[in-house]
Subunit: 653 residues, 2 copies
């Protein structure tokens, strides 16, 4: 089948394509703006002219030349007066985003009056990290944690020759505000290491395909590069030869890709090499690389996902949740200005429910980027509908300290692990596109209402949809994250997944493992005591009021109770239910909600393109099977362990 048009279907350009537009300004991204408009006008009968100030006949003016101070490179003003819509931008990127703003508005952009609005992203860097391998990894495949087919960029050991889909991808993600892409897996294996040096040409080709949409290309590199590529005896970041090697290698990268974004580094994490080998700190490591890219305007994204992955499960004093804070907070203030510490939004690893990482807010002297996971590793692997907008919105609006939200604290950027592959629907599950779109829009404006973003996505992806379809899609998606939470791991406990591939339930799958991911369920109760008073002390890593709130089971929010506390099955939640009855109820409810969503989807047949409807219908069968499996295993496990019968006498095996 042909590649799906996602949120830029032909009809999305109907309004703008049937108008008369003037484009003022020059430059490659202005050319892109013009090309987009010309294509739309070719289909819908409008016209577009370039160059000098146009006459009064134009419906739309897109002009370069606004207030650079106020707008920056990416902002734009939008106004409609006396029958003309005007977008003004100081930078070319701003003009492109202004065009897509007009496209999103559709007919609304050409009616009535509108006082000038300023649109400017909260976050300067809005990035997708692709965990794509160049060579197929024997265990992880072409895309690590990828659920949408192969890689857009790589196939069987080499860059794809045909970059048409990469261009289409750049266009799609620019339309929702993304401006950076890291093109390879943070776990840099042998083949991928060479992208930095002798295979930089392949990266340059990809960068060339993304550049017309204002997207800078980044590269994941191995900290051991000076050894494995450079033949040096050490990768010590304070060694002069190592620093010189990185400086030289980086200069050659910029020769090939003048607007190269920078490096992404996973170091001393899950077995990857890093500065610890030479007794150096993470700041030493990050700053050495920052020095290499600084002369060229590049940035280093240094991941904070550092923990002991060979933990003794019998030792309850070690707490993986503490690790990032414990490792990095002492280094606050030591990182170079162009070194960004990239922090996962929660302290563990993209579970369906986690508290916000206490690291965010605890490093005022460091540029932080916050990383979320669009690829649904722990949230249904793009076989389940699980719209993550509400989760990300909760994270971004969370205020670690009074007044300042995570979205604002993420001065180093917002990053999502990509959920895209070479699947015709881009994301495997066609409704998974909503996550990609929502990430871009929330990265641009972390305060945006996720429900409004969802409706925006529906409006664009299903143009001219009848109300019944719009309402049905909203129904199916809007509560899907909470539904997924209900039928999987309860009350913030997480991790009850099959080891390795992470799909499907296994309550004890990680319980006796070295990964630091435990629930400590016994016949009396469940949960991890992370209080300061009697537990691991993790709760004290937060500032007030959170440290106090999380410290006590009486004040801790229900949805995080088992993350912070070990309580009895009979413990009464704020909802008035006991923990065990909550487990039973949510698991029955979760399955019922999937059944309902499947019914709603079925009722939309005829309103959705058949191939798309069929794909989602098929996936709902698997989601329902899997949700029932979750329900039955979780309920059986806890019934067998607690001995407490379901208050409603439902069937538990």
């Amino acid at each position: 089948m042909e590649t799906d048009q996602a949120w830029l279907p032909t009809a999305a350009f109907r309004a703008v394509g049937s108008r008369h537009t003037l484009v003022h300004g020059t430059g490659p991204l202005v050319d892109t703006v013009h090309r987009e408009l010309a294509a739309g006008c070719g289909r819908f009968g409008g016209s577009v002219v370039r160059g000098a100030e146009g006459g009064g006949s134009c419906d739309l003016v897109l002009e370069l030349g606004g207030d650079a101070e106020a707008l920056g490179d990416e902002g734009f003003t939008y106004a409609r007066e006396v029958g003309r819509t005007t977008v003004t931008a100081a930078g070319q990127r701003g003009l492109l985003y202004g065009l897509f703003h007009v496209v999103r508005l559709g007919e609304e952009a050409f009616h009535g009056e509108r006082a000038q609005e300023i649109h400017r992203p909260t976050t300067a860097l809005r990035m997708l990290d692709h965990w794509d391998n160049v060579a197929v990894h024997p265990v992880m495949g072409q895309v690590e944690r990828g659920y949408a087919g192969g890689s857009l960029f790589w196939a069987d050991g080499w860059a794809r020759g045909d970059l048409e889909r990469v261009r289409a991808y750049g266009r799609l993600i620019a339309a929702c505000g993304i401006n950076a892409v890291a093109v390879n897996n943070v776990n840099v294996h042998e083949t991928e290491a060479h992208l930095l040096t002798d295979r930089i040409g392949e990266v340059a080709d990809i960068a060339g395909a993304l550049r017309p949409y204002g997207i800078r290309t980044h590269l994941s590199v191995t900290f051991a590069a000076p050894v494995v590529l450079g033949g040096l005896p050490t990768a010590d970041p304070l060694d002069e030869a190592v620093r010189a090697w990185w400086a030289g290698a980086t200069a050659r990268v910029y020769e090939a890709i003048p607007d190269f974004g920078g490096y992404v580094v996973k170091a001393d994490s899950e077995g990857r090499p890093g500065p610890f080998a030479d007794g150096r700190s993470h700041a030493d490591g990050a700053n050495m690389l920052a020095a290499a890219v600084a002369p060229h305007g590049g940035t280093v994204h240094w991941r904070a996902f550092v923990y002991d992955h060979r933990q003794d499960w019998g030792d309850r004093t070690t707490d993986r949740a503490r690790a990032a804070y414990d490792h990095f907070v002492p280094l606050d203030g030591e990182f170079a200005p162009n070194a960004v510490l990239q922090v996962k939004h929660g302290p563990m690893d993209f579970q369906v429910r986690e508290p916000v990482s206490p690291l965010i807010g605890a490093m005022p002297g460091t540029r932080l980027a916050v990383e979320v996971q669009a690829t649904q590793e722990y949230t249904g692997q793009q076989r389940h509908v699980c719209w993550l907008g509400p989760m990300w919105s909760e994270v971004l609006r969370f205020r670690p300290e009074e007044g300042v939200s995570v979205g604002e604290l993420a001065r180093g950027g917002l990053v999502a692990v990509s959920n895209v592959g070479d699947d015709p629907f881009w994301t495997g599950h066609p409704l998974g596109q909503a996550n990609l779109y929502a990430f871009g829009r929330l990265a641009w404006n972390p305060d945006a209402d996720p429900g409004a973003v969802l409706d925006e996505w529906i409006g664009l992806t299903f143009p001219e949809a009848p109300e019944r379809l719009v309402a049905g899609l909203h129904d199916v998606l809007d509560g899907s994250w909470r539904t997924y939470e209900k039928y999987t791991a309860p009350l913030g406990v997480g991790w009850m997944v099959q080891p390795g591939h992470h799909y499907g339930p296994s309550v004890d799958g990680y319980e006796y493992s070295p990964w630091g991911t435990y629930h400590f369920a016994d016949r009396d109760g469940i949960g991890v005591d992370r209080s300061a008073a009697t537990g691991t002390g993790y709760a004290a890593q937060y500032a007030k009021p959170w440290a106090e709130l999380y410290e006590s089971p009486e004040t801790c929010p229900d949805e995080l109770l088992l993350f912070f506390h070990h309580v009895s099955y009979g413990h009464v939640l704020k909802s008035g239910k006991t923990v065990i009855q909550h487990i039973y109820d949510t698991h029955f409810e979760g399955v019922e909600e999937v059944e309902e969503a499947r019914e709603v989807w079925a009722s939309l047949a005829g309103l959705v393109v058949p191939a798309r409807h069929a794909r989602v219908t098929e996936l709902f069968e698997e989601q329902l099977r899997s949700a029932r499996e979750w329900r039955d295993q979780i309920n059986s496990y806890f019934f067998r362990k607690s001995g407490v019968p379901d208050a409603h006498g439902r069937r538990i095996y």
Copy 2:
């Protein structure tokens, strides 16, 4: 390193190689006998002559010409009179086995007098099944459930060009009495299917290398061969075209390999194709293949490993243990004389402790072969010392009905899944060789004392060993199976292993799975009720007295209690201990026994070839680590579930 000589080291031929021997008779296997002797004499100064009746100067006579009726093709007589040792055989194979008997006796064969003894195998077919893939399987690798490197026969998609190791292998296994080898995995994948037709030449080469040691070659085939290889629309065993296709294909196999042994078939088992697809019975399927090989003297080994591997774990009425009996007993009497039903020794799948399959003894009108597993899939994967002689001996001496043992009932043969690969020590763990040897010797004589077989193996493998070494080796090996049982799954419950690869503990790993392998542990008790009165009725598949013995928890042997009954943790065993205390005690004891064995092994340094000592030492580290992991997980799991503290206050996490 050079390939290990296992139980045929150079010194094993010292006694016979320093004597004067006459070989009388002709034929290829007589040539082999002569070649073996000539090589020994070349090293140790003896002599060997062939042909006419020799003079009085011979120490040893090996002669063809005994009583064919009494000895069969494989038996021989052994006697020593007036300073001369005489072996007489009616068939060439018998003469070869007589030679190895003399080799085993060593100096003892040349002293004193010995009245004539008749040696004859109880079982006509003593077979090793190799689960070797031709093409490396993406999940299972070159050898499915192989823990000794690659395959002896195949590498990367093709038969090995150099068959020197295959010849050496044939010699080794002939020396312990094996006379048949199936050269490929019973799960016949796409590449392997072609061995039957266009790639039979590769099998013929292997058969040629094994033939000089009296070993016939067998082939695993796919039941779907007429479809996948022959292009027919069906594999229906009653379809004339299908029957004709098999007849033709089989005739071509025998053209290539005139002494071809026959087919091994896994049909309608774990997703393999079989006669069910066409509504035919297993007898229909087996008999159709039996008809194809009958004109050529071949045999079909039809595996009885048939069960529902997509079971609903919530349904406690279905019992995998019942499956083989339920499927096959109704077919008793329907199988052709050259169709052998190959039954695993237990009803499940090679767990460390299972009852003997009730199928054995319940099909008097069918030729049965009994299959054991030398490859240590569930018994430590050749990283743990686990000598299986005592387990196999218990199985073979078990009497399903009064008077007749399993060893005698196995009229169709005794089969072991091979534990051999291209590892220099043959079996990965050097002490794993003892299992291969013991299987051959027990297949020849199922009544043999396993302790004597162990000492025989020690004597051959470590020739001229000091008493301290002999005693140490005996110590390390003799109780190792029971030690392994202690630190793994208790009281016959089985299956508490990591899913997929089956190494290491995971108590619930298969508990909520479709594989039919459950323990049903809850906060009150554990075990599977297989009684007739209140359970699945499996116990009633046995004849008396076993049906009665297993029916009640009062009479059921402790070691099988949880296989047959669900009991409370407080249930008192015949040993006087509660179930829960038994679990704790055996797990602490098991680890202590591994620690002791490791100490014994360490004390043997200097008495064992360094490479061999080092390999075992290294493996003991892993065994001890793993045993502790088992102990801690199993004890923690049951402590958390039962809430019962250890009576001795030992550390449980």
